[in-house]
Every structure is written in C-alpha cells, then in structure tokens.
Symmetry: C2
Subunit: 454 residues, 2 copies
Amino acid sequence: MAGDLDELAAALPEGRVVTDPDVVGAYSRDHAEAVAPPGQARCLVSARDAGEVAATVSWASRHGVPVVPRGGGTGLAGGAAAVDGCVILSLAQMNAIREVDPADELAVAEAGVLNADLDRAAAAHGLMYAPDPSSYEISTIGGNLATNAGGLRCVKYGVTRDAVLGLEVVLANGRVVRTGRRTVKGVAGYDLTSLFVGSEGTLGVITSATLRLRPRPAESPATLAASFPSFAAAARAVTAILQARLQPSLLELLDRVTLRAIDDWKHLGFGDSQALLIAQADTDDGARRAAVMQRICTEHGALLADVSDSEAQARQLLDIRRLAGLATERLGAILVEDVCVPRSRLPDMIERIEGAADRHGVLIATVAHGGDGNLHPVFVFDHQPEVPASVWAAADEVFRAALDLGGTLTGEHGVGVIKRRWLAAELGEDAMAVHRAIKGALDPAGIMNPGKGF
Amino acid sequence: MAGDLDELAAALPEGRVVTDPDVVGAYSRDHAEAVAPPGQARCLVSARDAGEVAATVSWASRHGVPVVPRGGGTGLAGGAAAVDGCVILSLAQMNAIREVDPADELAVAEAGVLNADLDRAAAAHGLMYAPDPSSYEISTIGGNLATNAGGLRCVKYGVTRDAVLGLEVVLANGRVVRTGRRTVKGVAGYDLTSLFVGSEGTLGVITSATLRLRPRPAESPATLAASFPSFAAAARAVTAILQARLQPSLLELLDRVTLRAIDDWKHLGFGDSQALLIAQADTDDGARRAAVMQRICTEHGALLADVSDSEAQARQLLDIRRLAGLATERLGAILVEDVCVPRSRLPDMIERIEGAADRHGVLIATVAHGGDGNLHPVFVFDHQPEVPASVWAAADEVFRAALDLGGTLTGEHGVGVIKRRWLAAELGEDAMAVHRAIKGALDPAGIMNPGKGF
C-alpha cells in the first residue's frame, strides 16, 4: 500500500499516529459536516512541533498521500473535512504562546493556540489581538490564519491578515520556511505571508505566526442596541452610520428569524423584534459617537434605541450576538453562508436574501457584520442525508446576488468545499489560471488539502 | 533581430513606440542612478490603457524582450532602471482617477495617477488616501504599489498594501487579470493582490487599482517639535512615546547631518540641533496626546519641545522633513537606504549606523520614520563613476546590523537593483526557493523587470 504507516510512525515520536476509527472519525469533521460530509481518512497525526509537521508532510509527499491540516475544527465551509485516504494533521496540540513583546506590540504563537487565549495573554500587557471571530473561544490561530478569519471588531481593526507580521510554514515538500518579519513595514521579497493567509491549507501548513497586537481600548465602550420594524430599515441605519464616519468598533445586525431562535432558547424577550442592531464605539469620546448613532437609528425608524456604558449590558448584548449560531442550529440542519458586499449595498443584499428565501420556500436566518457588508445567511433545513435541492437553489441565488452587487462569495469563512463551484464566477478564468500556476509551483503533487479552497 | 519594433508599433496606436535616444535615455533612469546605472533600452512605450500595456507585454513575451515598467521614476533602489535591450513601459500617461466612491470609501485609479492627486480627490469628499511617501507630489500610485511604499502617516494608517482592495494587472503572457474586490473583507481564492503589491514589476504590470480611502482627520493636528542633544536621545524618546501608546499620526526624526544640510540651503535656524523629532496626533484629543509626548521628550533630555496647533507651523515642520532628501542631495552623490527594525531597536540601529559611518569614514545623513523603526541612512560621496568601496562597506555593515536586530533591508523602497545581493541573507534559502517557484510560475521566460527585486 502506498504510504506505509509504519514508516510514518517511525519518523515520529511514539503514539503520534492514531488509526482508531472513532478518534479518526471525530477528527474527520468540521462544523460544516451537514453540507460537506467528510471522506475516509487513513490516520490522524497530532503534531507537537514544526519538525513533526515536516516529517508528516515529507512522508505524505513521498507517497502522494493527501494532507488535511486542522485546528479547532470550527470551520464552516468544510475546509477541514477529511478526504479519502488522507492523513489528518492536527495542530491543536501546538498551543504554546512563545512570546508576548509589549514594546514591539507583537506575539509569537503556535498554530494551535486558541484565539481567545492569545487575546487574554495580550490583555495582561494592555494590548489586544484584534481579530475576534465568534468562535474565538474554540477556534485556533492556525485556522484563523488559514481562512483569514474576521470577527466583530474587524469593522474597525481589520481581519486576520491585517494582524500578521510573519509565519512559519511547512511546505508541501516538507521544508520549513519563514515568511515576513517582526517589523511593522517591509518589502524585501514577495508577500508570502499574505499568500499563505487565507489559502486554506492548500499551499502549506502554518505552524506558527508572529502577530501584531494593538493597544487595548476601554473595557466599557459605549454600546447601542436598537430595534427596527424591518431588517431592511436596520440595514439602512447601518449604511447611514458608516457614512457619518463614526468609526464604530462593532456594528452587528440580527434578523427576525435569528432573534426568535435565540428567544425560544434563552427567553430574553427579543422575540418580537424584526431586527436588532448592536453597535459600539470604543474611543474616549465613545459616548458622543454612540449618541449620534442612536439619533441616526431613530431617524431610520428604530422602535427602540438605547445607549449604555454598562459593561454588564454590553457583555449581555454581545452574548446574544454570539448565541446566534448555536440558537439557529437548534432549528435543524444548517448551511452557513458568508457573502460580503460593498457596504453601501447591504440593504440591497438583504432584500435579495429575503427574496431568495421566499422564492424557494427556504428558512434563512441572517446575521451580519453590518459595518463590513458581511452577511451570514444561515439556510435551515430538516436533518437528512442530502442537502435539499431548494436549499442549494436558494444559496445559488444568494451567491450570484452577492457577485452581482460587486461582492464576494466569502468574507471570512473561506471557500472550503462548499463554495468551489461558484469560485470561477467570482475570480474569472484568467485569475483561476494564476491560482493554478501558483498551486502547481508550491504543491506540484497536489497533496495539500485537495478539493478545498481554490 | 528578435523583437521587431515594427511589429510592436503595428500593435499600438501611432506614435506610441519611441526610439529617440534622448527620450529613451531620460526614461531609462530612476532616482537611484548614481548607484544603479541604467542599461541600454531599445525603446519606450507610453501606454494609455491596459490594452496597450497588454499588447506591449504580449509582443515582449513572444520575442523574449525584457519589460521594465515605470511610473514617476522616483524609485530609490533602481527598480525602474532600464536593462539592456528592454522595452521601457511607462504608465505615467495612464493617469485617470476613474472613480471616487464616498459611500464605500474607495477609489479606482490608474497606475499613473500621482499619489497627491488621488489624496486631493479624496479630500473633496472628506476622505484621504493614507499612504504618503515623501515623493507624493511626483510619485505614481503604480510605483507606490510596486514598492509597497510607506510614508509619514503610515505609523498610524499603514503602508500601501493596507490601502489596496484590488488590482488590474497585465501578466507576463499579456493577459489582463483582476485581483481582489471592492469589499473590505474577502477570502475567495489566494491573495493575489498582496502578491503583486511590492513585487517591483517582476510578476506583472499593475495598470489600475481599487484603493481604500479613510475618513480624513482634522486638518490642524497638534504638532510637536523637539530638539535633542543627540540622535540616540531622540530615538529613546520615540521608543518611550510608542510604549506610552499615544498612537501618533506622524513621528519623524532628523539627524544632525540632515539638519545642517537643510540649514545650509534654507537657513531655517536648525543648524545647531543634534536631532529633531517631529510628531503629530490627529485625534480629537490630539492636544492632550501631544502634551504627553512633549513631557516624554523633556524627560528624555530634549533641549526644546514645543507643541502647536497652528496649521502653518505644522506645514513648515513637514516641509522641513520633506526637504531632507533634496537637501542631502546637494552634498554630493548619494545612496539612500531604507532599513527597518522592530521599533524598540531604533536606538540600537542608530548607534550601529553612527558606528559604521565612523569606522568607514563615510558621511551618513539619517532621517527616520521613527514610529515604524524605519530609517533612511543616506550615504554621501563625491560624484564619480563608481560607488566608493568604503560606501558599500559601510552599507554592508548597516544592512547586516538591521538583520542582526531582527529587521529588514527595506521598509518601503523595495529591493530594486541595490539590495539584491543581501536578499538571501534576510529571506533564507528555503524562502528564496519559494520566490523562484512563484516567479517561474508567473513569468516563465523571465521577461518582467529582470534583475530587480527578488
């Protein structure tokens, strides 16, 4: 058999190669399994350092074995789903924060460090690690890098790529390469760092990263919560807030279906709202900015618009936002999407999503990082072996609407397995050819996370 | 003869191909000609649109003719110097600002647009194009993109790459490709945008860009000017200001040699200063921040430290900073360098530069974007056909010191011709191999700006 596991086991410390079907099965899935069912992996390797990653990839390269890297398995596009015959390469045990340097405002973290752990380590020095995907307590830095994860704060502080200075990456040939630098500027050579970020494990395995930290803003930013008679009205308020250039540090939207799902579960009293907008301003004059946002909401028809500087209330509102995903999962099987449009097109995109839901008779619960024009329409359906055709038809309509409005298929989750069939429609054939050339140059045998991303 | 110019001329509108030796000679140089003398080009093409760029590159590709793209010719590393037998492809005539979209805070600009023109167009909508290299009145967006240019504001607002959403690029095969998007987030496919930015024309020719604009801060930020008894003391004040997390929007340093050169020319009365620090804070509470910076300067031995909110005074100080390059050029031939170190190592790097100047008996005038740890040591020597060995020896020491301190050869000027021999020392052999693979994949014949950058 190609790819003798004994040879792999001999190249690694005792016990690293796991073939127990239950364990391998558990590591074969990510959070998109309802729509991207995993293949049959041949083994799991839980690496402890870059050398073990290199030994595993090197073995895979010699034998033409697919490598599927993974972190916390929280991906929503199937990027970490096992493929038949692959070795699953878990980075979750590589979870050391090697360094926090408050003078140069940077940290060096292994791929398996949880996002929130890094942020807490930074907080001890009055700093923050800005990218904060909703999964921050359970998703890893490596996975965040592989998908260029966003989050709630990125409306002000940018996405994962904006927080990366350099990487350590194991290439498809098993060599360990360092990209980038510890300085805030630099243009020596190509930007390999940005190339690997968001490449979903298809060009190499990120084993550690040098990450930029930022001064931590006030712990009690001014927080606004506003309830609207329609999702479209809330979206228009978001657009107006952005155009007033108030630079909110958070600007989130929840639709009626999401609010009802949260209320059915947690009984928080939001069940009758048609749409909820949550905004924060974390500058010293945050209260003033929040007051202006409040006025804009009222002008746009808000039924209620409250500003608070209470940390407890802010935390409660953010918890509601973060419950959205789990609450929606209680409704059935889900396909979580991630379209992003130019910010001024947010109201149009919402209209298109509502139209697709109506036309195809599909339940869609939408939350949005409104300030980024990044929407997560969640398609809900009954648990069943295959995704219903009506769901794919509605999703197709949503994807094409996003492209039509000048947007993208994916703002922060990655292409994974789910969005591959639409990718050429976004990128165009010439850009696809460039992708193939780069993939061919860095992974000529095509072993790195095949069938994912590009 | 390979590459018949009649065939090229036939593929372009009348008059586009210029062979007049005086004109071709004038377009063969950039601002580094004293240290990177140009080769003998065969012709100049001043393209008016992407189609003409594509026709030119396509012709060059068929005949294996080197293509040297250029914008304003203000490069300081020889990146736009002609090579023997090349076609010089000027983008300077492609200078339309196609769009300024205040709602989505973006602009679409052709490669030949001058940086300052774009910023003025943005200002009309209360926005700014943040990257502001000192050459901003004469350098083009295309050149800024090719070198990932920085500037004075990037201590707060980031470098050119941070301001780019998408590109239009003519590839080495003559195909026109679009990268990126109009949205603020997106992870569909590889980050080709970042790959082309800073690639110094070696992977393709950038013909236009979708650029992010930002809310324009107050026109009269609080400005601090502080004079120090030594450059090292000023550098320590910079480090302290950064560690106080005051987020200045500008933090510039000028050394004694630079100040004297400016004073000999303009008689501004700075001739006796050993070092000058200029800082700005452009937030609403800028005056408070500037006052804290003032106190820090005094604590670090400043002889004078004045804060002003006068726009005239701010403009005068920035003019002094921007005169530095021209003033130093009056001293002789120059080699302008561009090392960048982690910000906390700024005082160490200054000590190393002063040591190299002493040891090799070379006059070095240094200015620094202090807040970024980015220093421009300018090596001054008598005009002569060859750069003196002592200058290269001192430069070698400076480059190796930057790497030794965890820094990079180039913060914002690019590798060009000048820094190629040190590049492997910074990147390492494995990363160099990745560069070769990518270059080979996108430019297999090696026609795109050969001998430059990577």
